[in-house]
Point group: C2
Chain length 152, copies 2
């Protein structure tokens, strides 16, 4: 098992970051505008769809496994790319002075395939989008996310 790990410091209260990770408007503001479902209740399901140049490229569905207000969000991936199925996506938050420190983990990849390298870079870019959303009110979610090659 191999994991994607990231860390960002967001100049905000942890509660604000938590809101961006658990509400539809929050999630749509940094990951993908095409977000549906319920992120604010354990057992809830969220559906994320992505597109490039107006063409839908797929998506992923997660089940909300654990929530701790202002501290943790844990999802399990139940739909999407084959390599993602069964993996877990965790956001651990803690307040450190003026900053909310976010530890991000996309855990349980079976193999360090090339697609995992791609997703690692994209997750970093989306963490910066989350930071921008919370700090400035404007993130860069798909379809206006930062592209890293011709297809994404």
């Amino acid at each position: 098992m191999v994991d994607i790990l990231h860390k960002v410091g967001i100049k905000a209260r942890a509660e604000e970051v938590y809101k961006a990770l658990t509400t539809r408007d929050g999630l749509a503001g940094w990951w993908t505008t095409n977000t549906r479902g319920e992120g604010n209740v354990a057992g809830g399901a969220i559906d994320f769809r992505f597109s490039v140049d107006g063409v839908e490229m797929g998506g992923c569905e997660v089940k909300v496994l654990e929530l701790a207000a202002g501290r943790q969000v844990l999802w399990q991936v139940v739909g999407g790319p084959a390599e993602w199925i069964g993996t877990r996506i965790a956001f651990e938050l803690r307040q450190q002075g003026e900053y909310c420190i976010v530890l991000f983990k996309h855990q349980g990849w079976k193999e360090p395939v090339e697609f995992m390298h791609h997703c690692s870079t994209k997750w970093a870019i989306f963490m910066m989008s989350l930071k921008a959303l919370v700090e400035s009110g404007k993130g860069a979610p798909n379809p206006d996310d930062v592209r890293i090659d011709e297809r994404s």
Copy 2:
């Protein structure tokens, strides 16, 4: 052992990307302007220094282990943060149409410590800086790198 993995597609010839990974001007153009040493010969040593708000925050020294023109650059870290010593940093390049695909690996971390999460995010940002340098002629190396928290 755990690894940091990233992937970017750079719209350029692999030889151009290789140059940015093996020349002093190239490395100074995307990672840190304060770069010294010889990156274009196996056995060479390169010294990278980083600063934040005008204060030097440390650096790292690498030994060039392997070079394959237009295909691979492999370094071993011989100085710098304790967690980095002995780790290897690899850039694997391949041409895919108009794009040079870069697979990046910072391999051999003993533990997935919080500092590794930080470095994973920063490496993604520096890979985007490498992409910008090669595609547009202007990267975002330290000390003008994208900050992810109050200290970096």
